[in-house]
Symmetry: C2
Subunit: 282 residues, 2 copies
């Protein structure tokens, strides 16, 4: 924490019972008083620390430890999930990272329970897993597009909570981040994609459907937050109209989570001095 933060994002951004998504100012920067340039400098300044913490986790996994971290990113199209992966997750050693995006389920995935593909993508001990979309799509797009009967997706809330409690108990620290943007900001970002031919591949006319149903998605997000923000797997709602704030905030949440694991460097399970003699022939 530095002077620019008046409150840690792990506190200020954590979803609380009674919070209303429609009351959130998506351009705000809760707990942070600095500006864009200072935010970038601040984040860059924490790169070594983040990297060190991630390497401790990796070392822990290599020496029999069971802890892992799972960062789940949700948000409307263009909310900046990919940017978080590139600019925040990209700050640490890719060797210790497993990224996975979840789009429309494949036929094979659809033949299974909705958590099947999720379980297969969970980070092994020592790894930082990153989900760009996740099992939460099953209470978001599935709900809004009426891909399943209500009784079916409604059951998912409890199923998700039980699932997350199970993997948390097995050693996975879960950080759930919803990137919240306004429809106006999304419009700007979509138009900007159209303006730049190198971004056309990221534009899908079908995405406009979700935009037309903004209110329904917000209601689905609201209930998701209300029903699945638990002590072992809390939601953080990050105002994301300002990309620099979202990136700074998520990097702090990740750092906070890794630090919370309180991992020491594994101790040598060999005689250091003896090895030195063996090596140097002394």
């Amino acid at each position: 924490m530095t002077a620019a933060w008046t409150e840690h994002p792990a506190t200020s951004l954590r979803w609380r019972p009674g919070d209303r998504l429609d009351a959130l100012d998506t351009r705000s920067t809760p707990g942070y008083t600095g500006r864009k340039r200072a935010a970038k400098v601040l984040r860059a300044g924490h790169a070594d620390d983040l990297s060190d913490l991630q390497e401790r986790l990796f070392a822990h996994g290599r020496t029999g430890g069971v802890r892992s971290v799972l960062l789940i990113l949700q948000g409307m199209d263009t909310s900046g999930k990919g940017g978080i992966v590139r600019h925040v997750v990209g700050m640490v050693d890719p060797q210790g990272v497993r990224c996975r995006g979840f789009g429309r389920p494949t036929p094979e995935e659809q033949a299974h329970d909705f958590l099947w593909r999720i379980r297969r993508a969970l980070p092994s001990p020592g790894l930082l897993g990153v989900f760009d979309r996740s099992h939460y799509e099953d209470v978001l797009v599935v709900r809004v597009e009426e891909l399943q009967p209500e009784a079916s997706w409604r059951a998912h809330y409890d199923e998700i909570n039980a699932f997350e409690a199970e993997i948390a108990a097995a050693g996975t620290e879960i950080v759930k981040v919803m990137l919240a943007i306004s429809p106006e900001e999304q419009l700007e970002r979509l138009v900007s994609r159209l303006d730049r031919p190198e971004k056309h591949w990221r534009y899908d006319p079908a995405d406009l459907r979700a935009r037309e149903r903004w209110g329904e998605y917000q209601a689905a997000y609201q209930e998701m937050l209300d029903r699945t923000s638990t002590d072992v797997a809390p939601w953080y709602v990050v105002p994301a109209d300002r990309k620099w704030f979202a990136r700074l905030a998520v990097s702090e949440l990740l750092r906070h989570t890794l630090r919370g694991l309180d991992l020491r460097w594994p101790a040598a399970d060999f005689d250091v001095e003896r090895q030195r003699r063996l090596l140097t022939g002394g």
Copy 2:
């Protein structure tokens, strides 16, 4: 290419019939006349280009393309494979990267053909796959430690060439890098691991066994290079006593490979102006 390179590493480091590993100066910097600081600046200066090329590959994969890249890293302990992953692969978006390390095979892996675990880890279209060790362990440690009869590992050379030709034909561009260090440099690096408690987890007394058999490993590497450097999957031997040179060289090899794919940004498969009108209500 810039002034500091007199010959592109794709040329100067490429293994040629008749090359001798024991004639290589592992402190040399073939084709490069600059020094350490300039090398770091040069590599950092290419970060955007490398990132752009990798994103084109990713976009290509997202739009039905079949190309992928597989970077295979081999080398003795402490040769800097992990550093290449962190410092070179770490320059691009982790979303498009799949890293996999291959250690001693698990019982499940051992129950299968030696290429089974390799096939399962191949990069999907659009991805950059990175192998820290690989199927080449089956003609290296397996040979030197006599884990299989000679007839068995000897058959692997042809099997590997057939396998790599098959995946190359399916769209995977293969870059094989051997990081070559001297035993003296390895000694320094091992002692340095002993000196730093936070590096003890990376030190394994069992690794000394490979060090004692340095000559046998060099012979195994020599034959590996002679037998498996093919047109579709050439080996590059990178002198790696100077980490900064190895990192610069591999970043250039990766850039060269990605550029060779000659991928354009995918064209829009929708009417851009119509989408603009739909979005802006114009």
